[in-house]
Amino acid sequence: MKIRLRYFGMIAESAGKNDEVLELNDGISAKELKARQIERFELPDPESVQIAVNQNLEEEVELKDGDEVAFLPPFAGG
């Protein structure tokens, strides 16, 4: 299945891109994808990273073809 990933803030910098499409095996959960990307990009403070599946900030869901997953870090500039 194809999943579109979108990266924000420092995560986009670690990934070197704002978005990408990944071909993944069926049955992967959003949480597993998150862990995988955290490892892949060596993201600091993994506990602070939030993800949204199809614009809903939630990670306890199974992914399906065509889903969009956003990766979001906290930031505090002002």
């Binding site: 979108r6 803030g9 906290p74 930031f75 505090a76």
Partner: protein
């Protein structure tokens, strides 16, 4: 007439203008976000505006904090902002608080206002605003910037989610606009959007941006809206325990002593040190064997109250003779 053009709008009218006149808005941080927000709120005729900022104006502020000019460098941001805002509108009241928002003043200040606008640039203060807003029952309008990106939401509005629902855990470092660089327009844009949310709340107009997070990238022009899930336990935690200070990191000022930290796991700041034995009070009875009985151990909690009771209890019931309470709590044994 000053407000004619907005009174003409459907949904505002004389009655809406009267609501604005009666409204009280507290702006915490008069910087890149706070300046543009304050200008528009003053212009719109918000009857009472509070400005909280302990900082002074520096040369590198001028490209984005457009309330300030070259002649203001070195002066108090809150004070100069008041002067400039009264030039825009002398009919409104502006109160200045030349201090940092902290554990002691936050709830007292918030009680005096209807809505809090977050113009701050660090996690510690954002969590503080969040907790004090929950405790005083005030909505707060949040924004944050990272380089060319911004985030916006309204928290604690009509039983909606809080900042801790969005980010229960924070990162280990603050990265400010001063360090990363920022175009002036980015906080400018977000600050005006914050002022917009304040007006919507007061006037009961449109959809207040509660339960949603807006993400904006000023370079790509993209906007995303994500739905925030309410985590009731994050709100209840604050109602039960009061403000939970967020200190990103800290170290002990005396690494040669041995300590016992009896705070619960969610309490901050976390201390990373081999000299600290961590046993939350709720686990203490089951883990007494982890506390050595020989060398002197300094027992601490957040304020020194719970740890004092623990020391008394352990001496009385379990025969400990090597424990000493840290009066004044964690603040007295950490750096910074």
């Amino acid at each position: 007439m000053r407000y004619d053009r907005q009174i003409k709008l459907k949904g505002i009218g004389e009655e809406g203008q009267e609501r604005l006149r009666k409204a009280r808005v507290l702006i915490v941080g008069v910087g890149g976000l706070g300046c543009p927000a304050a200008q528009y709120l003053a212009g719109a005729g918000i009857g009472s505006i509070g400005l909280v900022d302990h900082d002074r104006i520096s040369f590198s502020n001028l490209h984005r904090q457009l309330l300030f000019g070259e002649e203001d460098i070195g002066r108090s941001k809150a004070l100069v902002a008041k002067e400039k805002l009264q030039q825009i509108n002398s009919e409104i009241e502006i109160e200045v608080f030349e201090q940092a928002l902290n554990m002691e003043n936050a709830e007292r200040l918030f009680q005096e206002y209807d809505i809090i606008l977050d113009g701050t640039d660090n996690f510690e203060t954002k969590y503080l605003i969040n907790d004090a807003s929950i405790l005083t029952g005030k909505p707060w309008v949040y924004a944050s910037i990272y380089k060319n990106e911004g985030q916006l939401s309204v928290f604690n509005y009509q039983d909606g989610p809080s900042y801790r629902c969005l980010f229960p855990k924070t990162t280990s470092e603050n990265i400010s606009c001063e360090e990363t660089g920022v175009l002036g327009i980015t906080p400018g844009l977000l600050g005006i959007m914050q002022a917009t949310e304040v007006l919507k709340i007061i006037l009961d107009l449109g959809d207040v941006f509660s339960g949603k997070l807006k993400l904006i990238n000023v370079l790509s022009g993209s906007q995303q809206v994500l739905k925030i899930k309410k985590r009731q336990e994050e709100i209840e935690k604050i109602r039960e325990h009061g403000i939970i200070p967020v200190r990103i990191e800290c170290t002990l000022n005396d690494e040669t002593r041995t300590y016992l930290d009896i705070r619960e796991i969610f309490e901050q700041p976390k201390i990373r040190s081999e000299n600290v034995i961590q046993i939350p009070l709720s686990d203490l009875q089951d883990r007494l064997w982890e506390i050595p009985k020989q060398d002197e151990i300094l027992v601490f909690c957040q304020s020194g109250k719970r740890s004092r009771k623990v020391v008394e209890l352990l001496e009385r019931e379990y025969g400990f003779e090597n424990l000493k309470n840290v009066e004044g709590g964690i603040e007295t044994i950490i750096n910074g």
